[in-house]
Amino acid sequence: MIAPTLNAYLAVAVLLFAIGLIGVLIRRNTLVVFMCLELMLVASTLALVAFSRYNGTMDGNVFVFFILTVAAAEVAVGLAIIVALFRKRQTIQLDQLNTLKN
């Protein structure tokens, strides 16, 4: 069996990051955008673990715990805002959320 190299892991991480970034920019449903944002964080997590293993330092692995915590807090606040907004407006499509205009 061939062990995957650092580059293989990084390729997957960059791919995940790109999918997340493009998703955030082009998708119009708030929940899908939110999932894409999480995908970007996961990409960083994967790259961190791969780097940590390759570099032989534990910093990266420890950092992952912080990212998990931060992502959980972000999701908690984010979903709360989305639910509150849905109750008000009955929609979470980004192009219909246009109360704020000059």
């Binding site: 990084l10 990051f17 997340g20 970034l21 955030v24 708030t30 955008v33 939110f34 944002l37 970007m40 964080l41 990409a43 960083s44 790259a47 961190l48 791969a50 780097f51 390759y54 570099n55 032989g56 330092t57 910093d59 990266g60 420890v62 950092f63 912080f66 990212i67 931060v70 807090a73 972000e74 606040v77 984010g78 805002i81 989305i82 509150a84 907004l85 008000k88 407006r89 959320l97 109360t99 704020l100 000059n102």
Partner: protein, 506 residues
Amino acid sequence: MNLEAVKLAAADNLWSALFPELMLAGLALLLLVLEIVLPKKHHVVIPDVASAGLLGTLIGLFINWNSSLIGAETFNGLIHHTHQGQMMRAFFMICALLVCQLGRLTLARQPMPKIEFYHIVLVVTAAMMLLAQSNHLLMLFVVLETLTIGLYILVSYHRTSTASLEAGLKYLLMGALSSGILLFGIVLLYGVAGNPALPAHSDNAMYYPELTRFLEGNRDNFVAGLGIVLVLVGVGFKIGAFPFQIWVPDVYQGAPTPVTAFLAVASKAAGFAVLMALCGKDGVFASYQALTTPVLTVMAAATIIFGNLAALTQHNVKRLIGLSGVSHAGFLLLGVVASATSVLATNAIYFYLFAYLIASFAVFGVMTHLAGPDDSDQDLDHYAGLAKESPFLAGVLAVGLGSLAGIPPLAGFMGKFLVFVAAYQSGARWLLAIAAAGVVVSIFYYFGWIKAAFFETWTPPADGAPTRPARTPVTWVTGCALGFLALASVFFGFYQGPFGQFLALK
């Protein structure tokens, strides 16, 4: 597990060094406890407790200003204590005090739970204070997220108002996007700086001095360059620099006015504190100036041009102040570009930030008094006849806006002047020309606002229905605070204290 190593590491955790942040965190928890313990009719004292605690901590910080820890690092290098750090600590605490004061006015008009507002403001302030002193990329990321997540909640605090929720959602999506990009930049820097195959690699790659050493040893590493650009993009979002300013007008309009002030002043200053630690002359990215300086220069020019032109067409004052804040971020970026070659530019930026704080809060204070129950609806027309009805508010507004516009002899003028001199010394001539043109344009929209307050008269519509919100009377505490801010704008225009030595050193 090596117990001795753990003990050695723990010995470096000097908790007393973080007493202001710990005080604020404790105070934040105390507020929640008080809300449970006190009977409902005594809840009015809780904001007073928050303000008194903040004031006490601020005084404690001043007493301990020249502490023996200045220049030292604690918590195994996570925190670096500097005079700049002390200054930013004071800056954020003054912001929090004023935000709490404005918060009382705004929250009184809303059927909302009130205590959590002060709680989150205190937590966010503590995070900002740590951010200004962080010395490690992990610390940077965690405190940046703490303050950003706190601000998501604050922006959508009026959860019965669609505008506030929408602003919260937009800020959330943009903030999370920028955090994601920033994080990926940090990961790339960590990965490349710890790579055993490269010269000057480090086992502690996220620690600023080690990272600086690595970057000096590898001046044209592509991955490191990419990481640096991603980090700059992430910070660019937070300060609202072009092309990452798209969220600014909407979020500033929808957020409750005190939170808009918090975003405009404290959150922006936090971003600049990070930027100076990274891109200054002795900053972490100093050896990549061939990359960072062009990026920041283009960003500064575009930010000044966009901010000023977009502000010209605004009628909602919250959008107007938001976009004018974008142009101020541009002027500050000009200072950051200059600080790549001259350490003195850093002083200019700090003075600019303080002048901006004083002037902005004067304007936001007046805005809070003129806003009604619908906080996002604050039109220029609402200011008509203000000078006759309330000469005090109109006067404070005129001084604040004049200072933001950079009219001599106010503090804002000196701030701009210092930054421009620094930019001239560093040789960014064409950028300086754009900035000067930006100042001229900005005077136009600031004076449109002053004109509405002083020279236009309010005629109520014929059918008798009031189309503008009732003004809130000025209480003596807020009156004193606003008067003090206006006087400070004049005072610091004449006397710049230690910052004035900047000119003498030329």
